[in-house]
Amino acid sequence: MTSPRLPRRGLLAAGPVVLGLGALAACTDGGSSSGSSDAGGSTGGALTIFTSSEELSFDPATSQNLAITTLGLLARRLTAWKTSADAPTELIPDLATDTGTPSDDGRTWTFTLQDGLLFEDGTPITAATVKYGLERSFAKELTGGLTYHKVLLEGGEDYEGPFSGKHLDSIEAKDETTLVFHLNRPYGDFGWIASTPAFAPVPEDSGEPESYATKPVASGPYRLESYTAGSSATFARNEKWDASTDQARTGGPDTIEYSLAQDPSVVAQTLIADRSDAQDAFLASFVPTAQLVQAQNDPKVGDRLVTSGPGALEYLALNTQSEALKDVKVRTAIQYAVDKEAYRTAKGGEISGDYATTLITPGIAGREEYSLYGDAPAGDVEKAKSLLAEAGVKDLSLRLVITEEDTAAAESIQQGLARVGITVQIQPLDENAWTSEVPAGDGTGYDLVLSSWQPDVPSPNANLTPLFDSSQIGDGNYNLARYANPEVDKAMLDASSTVDADEAAAKWAAVDKQILQDSPVVPLIYSKNSFLHGSGVKDFVIGEFPAYPNYLTVTLG
């Protein structure tokens, strides 16, 4: 689901079904880039969030929400993100007093909770409640969330959750406020992992496991007042939340109402018109193409149309296990043959994103600009032809599998490769069939795939490991190039084990290049996302990462 679909990881970040995200606006007369914002709104008012999602799940164990979207309003975690339009996203403490202290070997991480934190019912938020929340995420009936911690915590592979009375010893609640995590290997980014939903506290007496999804106990500035799937959810103030303990949330509006199952085209029209009932509202889904053009040309919209900076990486994966693409020279030839200019035009032109020549997403530490395969976005046909000749390849025919909405983009790839004599057959599939054939398939069904990726946390590890580690091939995982290089696996393990941030960033930058030298994917563009809000909404900011607005700091004017 890239343009016009959500990046793969972003799929559940802001809400599932998004219709036609489309050509995304850049900073033009008809829109603002990344930030809104009319200096500081105030406290109070009722914010409405329109979303095409039919349902919302408030269970941290099963959630894949980014730290700055819906669940973050209700549930705090050990750490949080500070996003701003003109600086990389920072890791900041949330429930904890700092972002975690690693042991010298990077295998033990200690967090200390702030004193006096309370759940909405007035019971204290303790180390034990965070431990319980994490343990729940191991239970079989509570799967579907982000699982980075599950493969890191010692003994996690055999643990099946707390409901049978067993506990995971590698999460140690030393006292009321001290939590110690014992990992099965050194891990430098554990502070980021502690910002994922499963690190939210859950009281032990929170009832039946599956009912928590609709009856959560809030630790954030809001509590869930009512929820009807398919219709609406209302968040009211959590009186037990103390703003002075929270660096990530401003708790601006008095209430937040989610209006579910909304058609993005209709909502976008309503917001463009700035109707009285939509002035204190924003659309969580990307603005559909038709309304995007309309909004850009409508002077009334102005900076209510907010466009992110370059975000999710859109790429062409080359199936390295496919017979036709096993030779790295052939894959390198494709790097030169692809016409990124035509691709970007098919996606809506300059406003849809910036050209990509590297892998790590902008806004993430460790990103370095470089270009291994020339600087011309239209490619280098002669170079590609000579590489194919060197490889002794003639009449190459490849199958490109895409989701239905990517047809125009796929044709641009097809035409680009045709310039060097490569025939591309395009096979469009529906989203479910695509998932079964590509991430969950055995790799025999495709040579090329169009996809995109937005990491779950702003760390290069979440950027590169899911796409290029050999353990991430098949079973629904996203190493779509089916790229297996033991040296790269080792280098990524080494970089992810490095505790010193600067040292880790340098290692990741090297891994980025090391991977692209093998040419498993062709980076195409870093896509931009556009959002619309009403005239009453202030502080509507999209940080450098991720390319989504930060719900936690939105206020009403």
């Binding site: 909304q262 209709v266 109707r275 998932t435 629904g476």
Partner: protein, 341 residues
């Protein structure tokens, strides 16, 4: 009585076939609902565990058997300490909504019922009136206008008509809400205000079928011997129209019953455009998220409603035409316009 029982038995058979087909189709389709429940990253062990827990690791006929049994006796998912109960009549359990499908459908049904009742009432009244007027003034301006509108309505996509209605009536003229649903219990006024646009959209799209059916049947009826005789005997044209319309009762009943059944199963596009949390919106979401239990549950309910509506129309036929009550056979004339039985 015997034919009635036969019809009931036949309807049950149809339901079973639809269910078996639904299961078979989704079993053969390249869709794995467990992938959504596996988490990210997803290990092979987690994926296998998710499949097992949800019951998708068994052959389709075994899953179908469990589905049917659950309607009567309920069902429990998982094993050991980890159990999720679904009480009878259980139509499956959605692991995405964390709710049993019966409850989900129960929450959505009032919305769809509200849409269906109003839409069928409006479309049948408008469609029949337009058709009858056109037939009476055959070749005249009214006939041409009705024919023109019918062609547009029959060929316009629901999405375009709905979106146009929202943009013009709700956003530009600001006469009605652009979407959403208010419960009838909370206030019939607001309930109706939120439903006028969906009703009108559906009535416009479906009413054309009624208008065309009534027009052609009426023209045929008015040319039959009995109409000519009645006219010769000096009966008023209005009276003759009434006779002609009465003879259309049978095909129209079938059409209305089928429409009620189909609309109650959910109006996917209309519900999505107007932000109505009905069964259609539920089904649309389930399809995009591979929520198989919801797909099967709503498909089952949709088929059940169509079969029931059809059955009701079948059983009502003898009441509308006493000749059918005696021998259970179709009359030779004048209801040759029947679309379905």
């Amino acid at each position: 009585m015997i034919p009635a029982l036969q019809r009931v038995a036949r309807s049950l058979g149809v339901l079973l076939v639809v269910l078996a087909l639904t299961y078979a189709i989704f079993y053969m389709a390249p869709i794995d609902p467990a992938l959504r429940m596996c988490g990210k990253p997803c290990s092979p062990t987690d994926l296998e565990a998710a499949r097992g827990f949800m019951g998708f690791d068994r052959p389709w006929w075994a899953q179908l058997g469990s589905f049917l049994a659950a309607i009567v006796v309920g069902r429990t998912y998982g094993s050991g300490d980890v159990l999720v109960h679904c009480a009878a009549p259980c139509l499956g359990y959605s692991f995405q909504y964390h709710q049993d499908v019966t409850t989900l459908i129960g929450q959505r049904f009032p919305v769809t019922l509200s849409v269906a009742i109003g839409a069928v009432a409006l479309q049948s009244v408008l469609g029949i009136a337009a058709g009858a007027l056109a037939a009476r003034r055959q070749g005249g301006i009214i006939d041409r206008v009705v024919a023109g509108i019918s062609v547009i309505a029959a060929s316009a996509p629901a999405f375009v008509v709905g979106l146009l209605a929202v943009v013009v009536v709700a956003l530009r003229l600001d006469l009605l809400p652009s979407g959403g649903y208010e419960s009838f219990v909370d206030g019939p006024g607001q309930w109706a205000r939120h439903l006028i646009l969906p009703w009108a959209t559906l009535a416009f799209l479906n009413g054309a079928v009624y208008a065309r059916l009534v027009r052609s049947s009426m023209i045929e009826q008015l040319g039959l011997d009995y109409a000519r005789t009645a006219r010769a005997a000096g009966l008023s044209e209005r009276r003759i129209d009434r006779y002609a319309l009465r003879n259309l009762a049978l095909p129209l009943t079938t059409l209305v019953a089928l429409d009620i059944g189909a609309l109650l199963g959910g109006t996917v596009i209309t519900e999505r455009i107007f932000g109505l949390p009905g069964l259609g919106a539920l089904l649309l979401d389930a399809t995009s998220t591979a929520d198989l239990p919801v797909i099967v549950g709503t498909t089952f309910l949709g088929s059940l409603l169509i079969v029931l509506a059809n059955l009701a129309a079948d059983l009502a036929r003898p009441l509308l035409d006493r000749r059918l009550a005696v021998g259970g056979r179709r009359p030779a004339t004048p209801t040759t316009q029947e679309t379905s039985s």
